[in-house]
């Protein structure tokens, strides 16, 4: 049997990675604007120690799934599935999903995929979409929007190797996204049907909820994790929590803690969130002919550009670079918080005229 689903399109944002690219394709396939789904939400939440060495990590509030975290205003949910390695379920599960008309996100190690630049060189976990198969040719149709963009057939055996990889560290430059076994995972995603675009009221409501979350008390919600009860770490929430997170990271670098991976990964998620939100607001401003919204979108972009710098500051804050990295992080955090507060003010002002 041979099947290739129609309507599966690539989408990529220059400040986001494989998670947003794959999620965008699924939203688009479900008839929902990727920029609306992934760009209408903007917040900061992180629980200390939660980050994983995965390119597709994204911090989720307590009880929320990955898709609820990246698309909080669209009612989508997701759950990782790890098939039994011994009974052929890894491919069968994905094939069944595709046969049922659902493109499916799979985790892979780039080292095993000939279309990735890291092929045979660097181990790194990654996400791609499977949206077809050819039983006779023993191939899977794979879409990967992250450069170099790939949209073609891959031997099922090759895909299986990438999905079964232990993702080991073999070289000094295998960093950040290694040492996390892939475990044949695939993401079971449910997207609630809805209109392709948010209307003006829905967009205004989404922005209001974002502003409310940023303004909320850091760790103020009454849950065990946030209040620090039962020994659980107190989560960083909102704009104040973001400031506390960055200050704590700088202090820990100074204290000699190795927080580089954690800070780099979390900074990447904040960069993606701000970057996509900036585009969402900018487009909304163009469509509503609102100069205020366009300016607010640019202010959000400015926040993203801080995160772009901060992410590199984080990645270099090891060894001899630790002390200067901590100082640089503190300077950047001050500028980021100032401009972030400014962006939130711009959004509040622009929203009042929406």
């Amino acid at each position: 049997m041979r099947l290739v689903l129609d309507g599966v399109r690539a989408w990529r944002h220059d400040l986001a990675g494989c998670l947003h690219a794959c999620a965008a394709t699924l939203f688009d396939f479900a008839g929902i604007s990727p920029l609306d789904a992934l760009g209408s939400g903007w917040s900061f939440h992180y629980r200390p120690g939660d980050a994983r060495r995965e390119e597709y990590y994204f911090p989720a509030p307590p009880g929320a799934s990955l898709f609820e975290a990246i698309a909080p205003h669209h009612g989508a949910t997701s759950r990782w599935r790890s098939p039994d390695p011994d009974d052929g379920a890894a491919w069968r599960d994905v094939r069944d999903r595709v046969l049922g008309g659902r493109p499916t996100i799979v985790a892979v190690d780039n080292y095993h995929l000939p279309f990735r630049p890291a092929y045979g060189d660097v181990h790194s976990n990654h996400l791609a979409i499977v949206y077809g198969f050819d039983d006779e040719a023993k191939t899977a149709r794979v879409l990967d929007a992250v450069p170099p963009r790939f949209d073609g057939d891959v031997p099922i055996a090759t895909l299986a190797a990438a999905r079964a990889s232990g993702n080991p560290v073999e070289h000094a430059r295998d960093q950040f996204f290694t040492r996390t076994p892939i475990e044949r995972r695939w993401l079971d995603v449910a997207i609630r049907p809805g209109p392709r675009r948010l209307d003006r009221d829905a967009a205004r409501a989404a922005i209001a909820r974002n502003l409310s979350r940023f303004a909320g008390a850091d760790g103020g919600a009454p849950s065990d994790a946030r209040s620090g009860m039962n020994g659980a770490p107190r989560a960083y929430d909102g704009l104040d929590g973001q400031a506390r997170f960055l200050a704590d990271m700088a202090d820990r670098i100074d204290a000699g803690d190795d927080v580089v991976d954690e800070l780099f990964v979390v900074a990447g998620t904040a960069l993606a969130a701000a970057g996509v939100h900036g585009d969402f607001i900018g487009r909304l401003g163009r469509e509503t002919d609102s100069a205020e919204l366009r300016e607010a979108g640019r202010a959000v972009d400015r926040v993203a550009h801080h995160w772009a710098a901060l992410r590199i500051i984080a990645g270099r804050a090891r060894g001899d670079g630790a002390r200067s990295g901590a100082a640089s992080l503190r300077r950047r955090a001050r500028a980021l918080q100032r401009d972030h507060e400014h962006a939130l003010g711009d959004l509040a002002h622009a929203m009042s005229g929406l």
Partner: protein
């Protein structure tokens, strides 16, 4: 092969009186360009990627990008400045624009401080798009060199190539410029800089 913008051409000596190339060599602190034999020395990003020397002008080469002459720097010790508030002195004169050849690890922007002979300081923003292949410009700058390959520490990737952008910074103060303080942003790499001399007042629009 140089896969670059169409208006590139060798620059005449001195690049013409309208422009003053700025010597960045003392500030070079990063290897962003490597040959096939030393690509493991590349350090443009955290993964050790670098531009392929065969896809760019050689060390010391003068090249014109969009009508602006630039001089590429040395290679071994470094070929670009990873921005960390370095103070770069410029040739004497009044200028309208500072042009740079630059690349960024993800799109970013940050202030530069323009220091003038009379002690005054103005602040402008340097904005640079992502160097990563298949990534469009976001700040309206010009693609100076769209390369046909990317160097990895242990292999050459020929299916895509990164971009060096030509960006510019305005100088609004009509006064002699002395120095430029680069941004405090390690994601920005500057390969070359040229100052465009101010047009005489009677030529101003």
């Amino acid at each position: 092969m140089i896969a670059a913008a169409k208006d590139h051409r060798p620059a005449p000596d001195g690049g013409g009186a309208a422009f003053a190339p700025v010597d960045l060599s003392k500030a070079f602190d990063n290897r962003g360009i490597t040959g096939e034999a030393d690509r493991d020395r590349g350090a443009l990003n955290l993964w050790g990627n670098s531009f392929a020397s065969g896809a760019l002008p050689g060390p010391g080469a003068r090249v014109v990008v969009g009508g602006v002459p630039f001089v590429f720097g040395a290679r071994d010790a470094g070929d670009n400045v990873r921005c960390a508030r370095q103070l770069v002195f410029v040739p004497a004169g009044c200028f309208d624009w500072i042009y740079v050849l630059a690349a960024a690890e993800r799109r970013t922007e940050d202030p530069v401080h323009l220091h003038f002979d009379d002690g005054s300081v103005d602040t402008e923003l340097l904005r640079v798009s992502d160097f990563w292949p298949e990534t469009d410009r976001r700040f309206g700058e010009r693609a100076a060199f769209a390369c046909d390959r990317m160097h990895y520490p242990r292999h050459v990737e020929r299916r895509f190539g990164p971009t060096i952008w030509r960006q510019r910074i305005p100088i609004t103060r009509e006064a002699p410029l002395r120095a430029v303080r680069l941004p405090d942003n390690p994601a920005i790499h500057v390969f070359a800089m040229t100052a465009a001399r101010a047009r005489p007042a009677d030529e101003a629009p």
